[in-house]
């Protein structure tokens, strides 16, 4: 108890409890600033471009500064506690009651802990870079201000998701995030495909959200609170979890496991996990910065973050080094998504679509990491992936921008010399994504996941799947880079390098795509220690763990194999845009289903959508025939009744009324002769009346 | 400053003369006879001044326009007014056939009578005022208002489109500027606390050191003097406000159809009203008959009054010779959008002056307000008026 409650700790240590740090009290400013900026921008007219972008960037910079302060606060507090030798489970919370009904209250609040702090800095930093990039990318769009309004709103809501200490507040922000995603995918709503993609994204994620909401309601009914941490009585803290574990929900699941699975369904919708992944590739219809920010770096990671946030719920009931049903499901879903999406990515030709499937695949890695190795493993991949995937998307945006809105990789080529800076940064991002050994952050984070998979007791299946996924990743990224940057130019107009405002964020992101790996190497696992509240030490013996070196060697081999295979098949070939792909020629039976995305959309079309269409037809038939018939009968009856009434009215009531009116109007005609509009008549009558009055007065007052 | 008897007698010489003449009559008739003598003096003296002013104007404008002016009749043309008078008297009096004869005949008479009546309340020297009325200023202004009616009568009765146009223009202009005129006198009334012109002069007839307490030497007085002079110029249809009789457009305005002696009456009346406005201006702002420096009080008061009037008339002539004629809309805009608000503000400033008490503070504040208002309103009314270099459309 002492160990988990900082307030008690201070009491027992005879240290006066400090006033809550200012950063915790003002933590809500971090999401509020961009939301306020969005509100202000929404009131601006279209021509205030500089002002709106300035507002958005300024507010997010403010949020970034606050986030860094928050991270600093967390690190310093943690170091202080480590110094005193306690296990600091830091969750600085600010809670308040939103409203109360009956005996129960609905509380909201925000929390500052290592998980939130790391995520805050990542979201703000990547978001800020993408904002700056958007200034250049959207420079010619007439709805510039609207774009920045949506972006700001998104950033605020996302930050709200990160800091919320209540599942309800998280859900509200979650929904705003979904809304802005919808708005931004459909930003160019004049394009029918964009509008359709927006709808698809919204509805598909809604499927997951329904389960999520069910989970929330179940949790509330079981624990009576939706707060995560509340000094020992929150829903993720000791007592409540034990309680949940003791409830049985059927199918051999405890209530905790069932709720965890429901929440995972929501996370799967948002993060594009296997059955619900179909919206994410289509979401690439939005502007590229949106793809980078929302559909690669932050929003899709929200699902992963949600699982990390409710990890105690997921984990409860597991034996040491054991696992739970929920985590098993997470693992299998994640691993199969990783392979599935990577397979599809091999056969795509749209530069952004490839990256979208790659994103889905990497999200699968994160989920698998969470299920296999815990919060730190999954979150580390989330953070590194956010940087290099944002880098890749922004690089793709730069390529598209430079190639005059061309997105088909078969119509590019040779951009290495035309866009050197973009090529350089893109290559860094691509190598990081493939997990090129030692130098790049992606290697270390992926390696963590693979290592966790190797230690998983239940099955070795995920390990093989993930290794195969890594091979595919290296292969399709090589294919893409060869098509885009090598060979010779196959487009129409010559490409050009993007402006500084776009390349500068690329360079910064590239730096982090390399450097972030430092905090997660086996020799100095600072990130893991930070999230798990341990002290990190620098020790080269970290590499000496049994099996680790072999695993690193294996994954390096796999990566090299993928790269080599890709280069062998595609390097410097420059095929004609219309020519069939190399693989299509050799293995058409494999190529075709991959190109058609393994028929998932078609499957949904034939099952779910067809069912709904059928159901709609049934409802339509019911409406027309059954209900329509009843209504028509009633209408006919009332029509009859009305005809009868009309007869009464016209012949009986009106007759008498008309007569009266005629009498009245002829009487009015008489009177109207007096009120003839002739002022002199009025005056005459007035004067005559005065004469009469005065005469009467005088006469009556005679002595 | 004990004035010597000689100068006192010289100052009051006309009063003494009147009393001496009236002394021949029985006591019952003396007050009436005194007034009658005063009236005769006015009717005699001011037309004499008129003759001088006409000559002055013709000579002065001639000099301004780089020509000689009248120089044939008498030495240096000095007898020209007499020649003009004789010519006017012996010319044929033509009345248009379709004219409204009665009104046509009455118009100049009404004009002349009202103009002369205004002189009744004007103090031309110490004790030298025909009727010292409690409501002298109001009377003066009321008489000025009646002249508008005679302008209308003249213009309408002539049955001539130039005449009626001139009359309409004249009335519109005179009504507009009369408002400004009255408003600029009100600030004097507020400080002097009286409508009586003698009291107003008495309020100014004191000295700090050698300098007089004339109202023109205060911020509101200077502003009031400015608006009053401009409005007075417009009220008497003098250039640059002479659109009612602008000869380039409507021949001679409302007196186009007058000739001979009736025309002479219009001519006289215009100059007399000019003189009376100058007199009122001197009375209200320049201390009337009081001397400009305390050591000059020995000079007879009526000399001071007439020299101020003549000075003011010289300014009238100077302005006429210098400025071009305004357009009707410019004239109206100027009256209603610049002068009127400025005069109203001046009233406010006068009230401020009255209630701020002695001290340098009120000088600074009142001057600042008026100067700022002048500059701002000037800027605002000049906005959207694009003044470029003059363009000669047909001469090039």
């Amino acid at each position: 108890m002492i160990a988990t409650n900082p307030l008690l700790l201070y009491q027992f240590g005879n240290i006066p409890p400090p006033p809550q740090a200012w950063i915790v009290r003002w933590l809500s400013l971090i999401p509020v600033l961009p939301i306020l900026a969005a509100g202000v921008i929404s009131l601006l007219k279209q021509r205030f471009r500089r002002l709106s972008s300035g507002l958005a960037i300024g507010s997010l910079s403010g949020s970034l500064l606050l986030s860094i302060a928050a991270l600093g606060h967390v690190i310093s507090t943690r170091n202080l506690m480590l110094y005193f030798g306690f296990n600091p489970g830091i969750h600085d919370v600010v809670n308040f009651t939103w409203f109360r009904f009956g005996a129960s209250t609905v509380d909201l609040g925000w929390v500052l802990d290592p998980l939130a702090a790391v995520m805050l800095v990542m979201v703000c930093f990547v978001g800020l870079l993408i904002f700056i990039y958007s200034v250049g990318y959207m420079a010619h769009d007439e709805n510039f201000t609207r774009f920045f309004c949506f972006l700001s709103l998104f950033a605020g809501a996302m930050l709200g998701v990160v800091i919320s200490n209540s599942l309800l507040l998280l859900f509200m922000c979650w929904e705003i995030v979904g809304l802005t995603s919808y708005l931004l995918i459909g930003f160019w709503y004049q394009k029918p495909s964009a509008a359709a993609a927006a709808k698809k994204a919204f509805i598909t994620t809604r499927v997951g959200d329904v389960f999520f909401l069910l989970g929330i309601v179940w949790l509330f009914s079981q624990t009576g609170t939706l707060l995560f941490y509340n000094h020992g009585v929150g829903s993720l803290e000791g007592l409540a979890l034990v309680n949940l574990l003791s409830q049985h929900a059927g199918l051999g699941l405890s209530a905790a496991g069932a709720i965890a699975l429901l929440i995972f369904a929501g996370a799967a919708g948002k993060s594009g996990q296997l059955p619900l992944h179909v919206w994410l590739p289509d979401a690439m219809e939005g502007p590229t910065p949106v793809s980078a920010l929302i559909h690669a770096a932050t929003m899709v990671a929200a699902g992963v973050y949600l699982i990390a946030r409710v990890y105690p719920l997921m984990q409860i009931g597991a034996a040491p080094h054991g696992t739970t049903a929920a985590l098993t499901v997470v693992t299998w879903v994640g691993a199969s998504t990783a392979v599935f999406a990577a397979l599809i990515a091999v056969a795509q030709n749209d530069i952004k679509r490839i990256l979208a499937y790659s994103t889905i695949s990497q999200l699968g890695y994160m989920m698998a990491g969470l299920g296999l190795g815990g919060v730190a493993v999954g979150m580390f991949h989330l953070i590194t992936h956010a940087f290099f995937k944002a880098l890749l998307f922004l690089g793709a945006g730069s390529v598209i921008h430079g190639c005059h809105e061309e997105q088909d990789i078969r119509r590019m080529g040779g951009l290495r010399s035309d866009m050197p800076l973009t090529f350089l940064t893109y290559a860094i991002g691509m190598l990081a994504l493939c997990g090129f050994p030692l130098l790049f952050s992606g290697f270390w984070s992926k390696d963590g996941i693979l290592e966790a998979a190797k230690h998983w007791d239940i099955s070795k299946g995920p390990l093989y799947m993930l290794v195969f996924g890594a091979l595919l990743t290296a292969f399709y990224m090589t294919r893409q880079v060869c098509y885009v940057f090598f060979g010779y130019w196959r487009g129409h107009e010559p490409a050009h390098e993007s402006p500084k405002v776009m390349t500068l964020p690329l360079a910064i992101l590239a730096f982090f795509a390399i450097a972030l790996g430092v905090i997660g190497t086996p020799a100095w696992p600072w990130f893991r220690a930070f999230l798990e509240n341990r002290a990190a030490t620098f020790d080269l013996h970290g590499f000496a763990e049994p099996g680790l070196l072999e695993l690193m060697l294996l994954s390096s081999l796999v990566v090299f194999l993928g790269l080599g295979l890709g280069w062998r098949l595609y390097g410097n070939r420059s095929p004609k845009p219309e020519a069939p792909d190399v693989l299509e020629r050799s293995v058409p039976w494999l190529w075709k289903p991959l190109r058609d995305r393994l028929y998932v959309d078609e499957f949904y079309g034939a099952t779910v959508i067809a069912f709904y269409a059928w159901w709609a037809r049934v409802a339509d038939w019911l409406d027309r025939r059954i209900w329509g018939g009843i209504v028509a009968a009633i209408a006919w009856f009332f029509g009859l009744w009305a005809r009868f009434n009309r007869y009464l009215d016209v012949d009986w009531v009106d007759g008498g009324f008309d007569k009266t009116c005629e009498e009245l109007s002829s009487g009015g005609g008489l009177l109207s002769r007096v009120e003839g509009g002739r002022v002199q008549n009025y005056l005459r009558i007035l004067a005559a009346a005065v004469v009469a009055l005065v005469a009467i007065l005088l006469w009556s007052s005679r002595p | 400053m004990a004035a010597s008897p000689l100068f006192t007698n010289l100052d009051q010489i006309f009063i003494l003369l009147r009393d001496w003449l009236v002394g021949f009559l029985p006591a019952a008739f003396r007050p009436a006879a005194g007034v009658a003598l005063g009236a005769i003096a006015i009717v005699g003296a001011f037309p004499g001044l008129f003759a001088v002013v006409v000559l002055l104007e013709r000579k002065g404008v001639g000099r301004i326009q780089n020509r000689y002016g009248p120089n044939r009749v008498g030495p240096f043309g000095l007898l020209q007014p007499i020649a003009d008078a004789i010519k006017a008297l012996i010319k044929e009096d033509i009345v248009p056939y379709r004219a409204d004869h009665v009104v046509h005949f009455l118009a100049p008479i009404v004009l002349l009578v009202t103009v002369f009546m205004a002189f009744a309340v004007l103090p031309v020297g110490r004790n030298m005022v025909l009727v010292d009325m409690d409501t002298g200023l109001l009377f003066f202004i009321a008489m000025g208002a009646v002249t508008e009616l005679s302008v209308f009568m003249a213009g309408w009765s002539s049955r001539n489109k130039f005449s009626i146009l001139g009359a309409m223009r004249g009335i519109a202009q005179m009504i507009s500027y009369e408002v400004v005129l009255v408003l600029s006198t009100v600030s004097v009334v507020m400080i002097a606390g009286s409508l009586s012109l003698t009291r107003i002069i008495a309020a100014q007839n004191s000295y700090s050191g050698v300098f007089p307490h004339w109202y023109i030497f205060t911020p509101w007085g200077a502003a009031g003097f400015l608006t009053f002079s401009i409005a007075g110029m417009a009220e008497t249809n003098r250039s640059p406000f002479d659109v009612p009789e602008g000869e380039s457009e409507i021949v001679a305005g409302y007196h186009t159809e007058y000739s001979g002696f009736k025309f002479a009456i219009f001519f006289i009346a215009e100059y007399l009203s000019m003189i009376s406005i100058s007199g009122l201006c001197a009375t209200l702002f320049l201390g009337g008959w009081s001397a400009p420096f305390s050591f000059l009080v020995f000079i007879p008061s009526w000399i001071w009054f007439f020299s101020k009037v003549i000075l003011s008339l010289c300014v009238f002539i100077w302005v006429r010779g210098t400025l071009p004629r305004l357009r009707q809309d410019q004239l109206m805009n100027f009256a209603w959008k610049f002068l009127l608000p400025f005069a109203l503000l001046n009233l406010l400033v006068t009230a401020l002056w009255r209630f701020m008490g002695e001290g340098w503070m009120r000088w600074v504040i009142c001057t600042a307000i008026l100067a700022a208002a002048y500059v701002i309103m000037g800027r605002v009314s000049m906005r959207n008026q694009h003044f470029g270099p003059r363009r000669y459309r047909y001469a090039e």
Partner: protein, 167 residues
């Protein structure tokens, strides 16, 4: 009661009668000014200098001018074809006569009962000013407001209306 009063009364009434009876509207307006002048002189005779001069200033300087302006703007100086009197002029005359009869009757009935001051009241403009800004300051403000409103109203009423587009 002296000669001056009778003269002024005659002048006023003659002006009024002429204003009502003359055919030409401009002549009517000029006759009205004669009546106004007569009234102003009557005011002077009643020792009300201020009111008298105000009468001249306002009625002759403003109202009469306004009337002639209105006449000119409405082409009122042309003689109408159908005569200047309305068809029911006789009724009007009878009613006016009735009003005069009633008023005269009332005056003659009551005037003996009213005590009459014959000394000249010593009232100066100063007193009037004090009364206006003292006891009567509220009516003064109301009149100021009324004049402002009337100015605006008159301008708006007489302003040229914009041509409405025909549907």
């Amino acid at each position: 009661m002296n000669v001056v009063f009778y003269l002024l009364a005659a002048l006023t009434l003659a002006g009024g009668l002429a204003a009502v009876l003359l055919k030409n509207l401009v002549h009517c307006a000029l006759a009205t000014t004669v009546a106004f002048v007569g009234l102003a002189l009557l005011f002077l005779q009643l020792d009300a200098q201020f009111a008298g001069f105000a009468q001249i200033l306002v009625y002759i300087g403003a109202v009469a001018i306004l009337i002639v302006f209105a006449i000119l703007l409405t082409r009122g100086s042309d003689l109408p074809k159908g005569g200047v009197f309305s068809r029911t002029w006789f009724v009007g005359l009878v009613i006016a006569a009735g009003v005069f009869a009633v008023l005269a009757w009332a005056v003659l009935e009551s005037v003996r009962a009213v005590p009459q001051q014959t000394t000249v009241p010593a009232v100066t403009v100063h007193d009037i000013g004090n009364a206006l800004l003292g006891r009567y300051v509220l009516p003064l403000e109301v009149v100021a407001l009324l004049l402002t409103a009337a100015t605006i109203g008159a301008v708006i009423v007489a302003m040229h209306e914009k041509e409405r587009p025909k549907p």
